[in-house]
Amino acid sequence: MIRDITLGQYYEADSLIHKLDPRVKLAFTLIYIISLYVGHSFYCYLFAALFLAGVIALSRVPVHFMLRGLRSIVVILVISALFNIFLVDGEVLVRFWKLRITKEGLVTAAYMVVRLILLILGSTVMTLTTTPNDLTDGLEKSLSFLKIFRFPVHDLAMMMSIALRFIPILVEEVNKIMKAQMARGADFDGGSLIKKAKAMVPMLIPLFVSSFRRANDLALAMEARCYHGGEGRTKMYPLKYQTHDYLAYLVLLVYLACMILVSKVL
């Protein structure tokens, strides 16, 4: 179950997209999401999908790896599609019992599903081609202008990278705890919802206890190395824009302009 979540899972490959500055990829994700809301026509979505397909091809990440991320949103897709199909008013195509399907409903549902899929895929490209550490670095740098408002950008970025770092550790810990409790006859996958929730207690308490202990140890280790927040802290590998980063920004702007054009003209 945990393995299915592609969001936040880095896929190692040697590609142009991997080499891009994380700030470019953050901008890409943001602009791509905005572009999906620019127009609502068949051609708009086709253009957006083609652009994304190009990026995915450049990234050299296997397509099935990308699609795996969609599994977790299947339920949302189905629900939003159903709601649109049955609840949108318009020209009635089929009618049975109290339900009716309209032409407008079908169209809206299809657009909705396509847009959601593109949205998830677009952000999955970023998380698959950027290591979590680069991502937080990029976020920290991109948001550093917020510092004038006394917003603790560095602290948040640090918290985020620590949280990301802990995910695999905690997953392993959950595994070990579950085994230890199963050896004592605990049953994690049977019974009603309430029973299942109750069965989680013997797993959650040791998990919390050990998380607190780990957090404590980490804080001590950081303090022992004189960590005192972001003030005056330098980076071993500072982020620097290269030529291909500027080119990527250009491509991005051209894409957005084209998208607006397509939505107006076609």
Binding site: K176, A180, A183, P202, S210
Partner: protein, 284 residues
């Protein structure tokens, strides 16, 4: 009455083209009442192997039989198996969760369907066996010392009255005193209640003193399965895979080289003392 592992292999990720074996073609049989020790360095597959014995892991190939029945057959109750074959994992923190020690130890028996009264009686008995003082029964398990936590964790398994007790590195991180205490208690269990003990360890000293059979693991295979004396006699082979015989065995070998008529097979300090005294009194 035995647990039998028959040509078992375990592959980490079966989808991968290059198969990485954690366990490769291992067969063994453990009978009731034995004190077996599994040694091997980190990553040799010992912790993986013991998880087959009560069905926590399913081998990729091969079978595991409990009293002659395949434990992964559909109608075989894994819950019942886990009552008969208990595993105590390395870190007690992974299993202690209740508000007090007694309740925590009752968790296992209750899962086995015992009434609260029965469970409490079994829990109290198990805690007594593990030499826990009655004053600690009402304490939170998180207030205990490392050695006490470990003993409560073992009691949590013992309270289910298993026939086989598997201990994964039960002495890791304990001071010498706590270590001896726990190993003594385990030995008593093995003697007085005829519970088979399977001790996973990398400390030769522990293994030499307590086990009557040693399985040496390397790279997912069992490379020796013999009495401690025979295993340590081939200490050169042990060294090849990064293990070693107990320190006193080396001392005995050195003394023998220097011309003392000493028995090289000694494994414990106690034996060494007796042997050296014997030679000294014999000489004079």
């Amino acid at each position: 009455m035995s647990i039998k592992v028959d040509h078992v292999s375990y592959v980490y990720d079966p989808d991968q083209k290059v198969r990485r074996y954690a366990i490769q073609d291992v067969s063994l049989e453990i009978r009731k009442g034995e004190f077996v020790s599994i040694i091997g360095h980190t990553g040799s597959g010992k912790s993986t192997l013991v998880q087959f014995l009560n069905g926590l892991l399913k081998p990729t190939e091969g079978h595991v039989y409990f009293d002659g029945r395949d434990i992964f057959e559909k109608d075989f109750s894994l819950k019942l198996l886990r009552q008969k074959v208990g595993i105590v994992f390395q870190y007690p923190d992974h299993q202690l969760f209740e508000s007090d020690v007694l309740k925590d130890v009752m968790f296992g028996p209750k899962n086995m369907g015992q009434s609260p009264k029965e469970a409490e009686a079994n829990a109290r008995a198990a805690l007594k066996v593990m030499a826990m003082d009655e004053s600690t029964f009402e304490k939170s398990p998180f207030e205990l010392s490392g050695g006490q936590k470990r003993r409560v964790a073992i009691a949590g398994i013992l309270a289910m009255n298993p026939d086989y007790l598997i201990l994964d590195e039960p002495t890791a991180g304990l001071d010498p005193e706590g270590r001896d205490e726990i190993l003594e208690l385990i030995r008593t269990l093995n003697w007085s209640q005829r519970i088979a003990v399977i001790l996973v360890s990398h400390s030769m000293e522990d293994v030499a003193e307590y086990a009557n059979r040693i399985l040496v693991m390397n790279d997912g295979r069992i490379i020796m399965d013999d009495t401690p004396k025979n295993v340590f006699r081939s200490y050169q082979e042990l060294e090849k895979i990064g293990l070693s015989a107990p320190q006193v065995t080396y001392v005995a070998h050195e003394l023998k080289k220097k011309g003392f008529p000493i028995d090289e097979d000694i494994m414990t300090v106690e034996e060494a003392k007796k042997e050296i005294l014997r030679i000294l009194t014999h000489d004079s």
